[in-house]
Amino acid sequence: MLITSEVKKLPGVENVVVGMGTDYNLDSLKRLHLFQPEMSKATPSDLMLCVQAKDEKIADELLKTAEKMLTAKKSKTGRGEESKPHTLEKAFQGAPESNVVLISVPGAFDAREAEFALRHDKHVMMFSDNVSIEEELHLKELACKKGLLLMGPDCGTAIINNVPLAFANQVRRGPIGLVAASGTGLQEVTSIIHTLGSGISQAIGVGGRDLSEKVGGLMTILAVKALAHDDATKVLVLISKPPAETTLMKLYKELQNVKKPVVIYFIGADPRVIETEGHTAAANLEDAAIKACKLADVKKAGPLMPAKEIDGLAKKHSVKGKYLRALYSGGTLCDEAQRLLLSPLKEIHSNTPIKGARELKDVYQSKGHVILDLGDDLFTRGKAHPMIDPSYRQERLIQECSDPDTGLIILDVVLGYGSHLDMAGAMCEAIRQAGAKGKRRPVIAATICGTAEDLQGYEKQKQTLEEAGVVVFPSNVSLVKFVQATLTREAKK
């Protein structure tokens, strides 16, 4: 029957019958006026091949083709392929040793899958952010009751047992354990820790709302407890926006039980309160990495680029236009830049302004100093995140280059798993296109967030950028210090 359906598709076929010489099939041949007297000799064990075609030549060829099909040796693999499980239940049955479930389906269903996984004693990482805060609280209460991780919602970065999950960098194992409510913040700090020579025991993401009043830091506290008892962790690092007051109280209470040194970076918080509690306050992401390393095993850790070198580069690259245009793919890096530049630049605009910065009225049209988070929802409608899909950032870069007010463009190139395989190349392509328009080029500078072990090739990315005339920095802080140095230099003139 298979042969029949195949031969029927060939050109010139009017009719074809392939079957055993049973009475039933002989009757069919009679009905189709294909019966020949010789056929009555056929027995049920004989195979009959009958083709009806326009002329004898075609009929002969068809017969030959049909015979070939019948005798052809089938390849072992066939058309089918192994089926994947449709549900977590089946997946757990098939892989009972599994311990982490990574969920990145649309938000409405994320929570259901997460709950199922937790009830089956699996740790969970939730990528999507479309989950209500009540749902988040419910899930985290369930997780904490069982001592399971619920990293998220809206958690894009984690490193567990040196395994990078979702968007994360390849780092070496070491004594520093991190708990972060921020993806790119975690990527930046873990990368710098590696570059400084130390290593990571665990990097746990808790999602942006964990330290809110409602959720009460449930996951942060669980992670802190575990790292406090983990023999491989000698120093803890906490990274987040300033927690809600009630949650902060709970957190400090919990930290009192931690005998290991704790470095805390609550973005924009008053360091004195942290120090009063007996912990080490960090001034920025790079500083958090440096302080952690010093407390761990790299006593001589310091900024990746000395201030003198940054100043030297600022002297070398004089900025002609008036304004800064920052095109960030990482939200926390965007926030850090705003924080550090608010005072020196006095007035900055953003689509995600921090306290003291202004909202950019038309996010698609820059005015004044602009620091953008291109990963924000507004820009990612119908597109993948700018860490994966460079197209909008390329467009915007060209646009800023044609604006005579633009003096300096900065951007972050985030390496590691999950990210674009050649972001530097993509950005340089845009720079070339902008240059082809013959306009005066603003100064372009970038920071690479990543390590020498990342799959994109750190040095190669750096080289690509430098060949296109981009000034490259090893940390967001050093990039931002460069911005400060060049623009204030210009202002002074």
């Binding site: 994947k84 977590l88 996984a117 008892h229 798993y417």
Partner: protein, 64 residues
Amino acid sequence: MNNLLKLFQSNISVINVGLPSFADDLKKQGVPVVTLDWRPPAGGNTKLLGLLDKVKRHQAKLGY
């Protein structure tokens, strides 16, 4: 907390629900990973989902 400490001593084995690229990256690292052929439950049919959730809530009252 003990479950979390246990995780730190175990080999990571992942079930990936969603973006296949995450699984590809894990495979590159030699981490065991199974990707689900996921589809929206009840084919995204909200009426059916509502009915199914009623059953879940009913059973939750019995302690499941």
